[in-house]
């Protein structure tokens, strides 16, 4: 391979071309903030955790929830809440453990592995939340239909008008629209992360994997 040898020859002698940075230049650099993808992934992951915690807190004191609490729901709400917090803590622990493992001194493949692992943790957490959201909403809807006197009377009225099906359909559609809204926000996060931040990493990771088969 004469071409690469030629390049090597040039590579070795070619030292003076580079700008010579002073002690001070370099010192200023290391004080700057990193803009690495790991930092961005970390920030976005925390946002995802905060997003779900905020949803829980935001709705906690709303009028609707208070009304809802007056219904006989403890048997379902308390276990759901406990499960929710336990899972949050568990994922948080996993996320930080994986994040701590990310080290630029690892070999390239393990480094990529570890970055993708932190993402997978958050992805699983979000998937859990989605399932949780669908289950909780279905329960809530069921309980409302079953116990809320206001809704019961509305349903009764609809039944006498012969619109019972339309009434239920409307309630269920509103719920579905709400779920679609929540899912869209998540898809937006994913669009940012996978389309933008992790595109190059995924490509290089695949390339390395392909090489090692």
């Amino acid at each position: 391979m004469d071409e690469l040898e030629l390049l090597k020859k040039d590579w070795k002698k070619d030292k003076s071309n580079f700008p010579k940075l002073s002690h001070n230049d370099i010192y200023k650099m290391i004080l700057k903030r990193s803009s690495s993808i790991v930092r961005w992934i970390f920030i976005i992951s925390l946002l995802e955790f905060v997003f779900w915690a905020a949803i829980a807190f935001a709705f906690k004191d709303s009028k609707e929830i208070k009304e809802f609490d007056n219904l006989n729901t403890d048997y379902i709400i308390i276990p759901l809440t406990i499960i929710g917090y336990c899972v949050l803590i568990y994922f948080f622990y996993l996320f930080f453990r994986n994040y701590k493992r990310i080290s630029a001194t690892d070999n390239t493949k393990s480094l990529m592995d570890n970055i993708l692992k932190t993402r997978r943790t958050v992805k699983n957490y979000v998937a859990f939340n989605l399932v949780y959201l669908v289950i909780a909403t279905s329960f809530a809807l069921f309980i409302q239909f079953d116990q809320n006197p206001q809704i019961a009377s509305m349903a009764h009225q609809a039944a006498t008008n012969g619109n019972l099906f339309v009434f239920y359909a409307r309630m269920i559609s509103v719920t579905i629209v709400f779920l679609i809204g929540a899912i869209s926000i998540l898809l937006f996060f994913y669009w940012i992360i996978y389309g933008f931040l992790l595109k190059r990493l995924n490509k290089n990771y695949k390339e390395l994997k392909k090489m090692d088969i």
Partner: protein
């Protein structure tokens, strides 16, 4: 204490800065991107410095962090100007048999290296730095045999780019 550590690190990096410049040279094709990547590598080196135990040479350790930053951690700046395209056009125009000087060939070679993907660039870089296959496989986290096979493919690919 921290200040002392900072300054001893900066002194080491200042002394070995050419390694970082070389990584930037392989991975970027304009000055602005070069400076950007240099800065990110410097930050990553500093962040990883407490873990540097001195059982490896500082320079060896720099290769690893530098390449990892270029391949994995660094996010290319959006303001990137696509100079490689412009240069390619220019080179194509100049392609006559009389211009086949060594310098021209070197320009074309660097041009060809810039067309490789990130992993292939890492292989070429380590090859140019005279690293053996054991160190190459260690740095990238692949087997020695596969590093060798891939290196041969990269050589072929470079040939194809140079003589289409």
């Amino acid at each position: 204490m921290d200040k002392k550590l900072e300054h001893s690190f900066v002194a080491l990096l200042e002394e070995n800065q050419n390694i970082v410049h070389k990584v930037c040279r392989i991975y970027t094709d304009n000055q602005e991107a070069h400076n950007d990547l240099f800065q990110e590598i410097a930050i990553q080196l500093w962040k990883a410095y407490p873990k540097f135990r001195g059982d490896a040479k500082f320079s060896t350790w720099m290769y690893r962090v530098g390449l990892n930053t270029a391949i994995t951690l660094y996010r290319k700046s959006k303001r990137k100007i696509n100079t490689s395209e412009i240069e390619t056009v220019e080179f194509k125009l100049k392609e006559d048999p009389y211009d086949d000087t060594e310098e021209e060939q070197l320009k074309l070679l660097y041009q060809a290296v810039h067309q490789l993907n990130d992993i292939e660039k890492a292989l070429v870089f380590l090859y140019l730095e005279d690293k053996d296959y054991r160190e190459i496989s260690d740095t990238l986290g692949i087997s020695e045999v596969n590093a060798r096979v891939k290196m041969n493919r990269v050589k072929t690919k470079l040939k194809t780019i140079l003589n289409p």
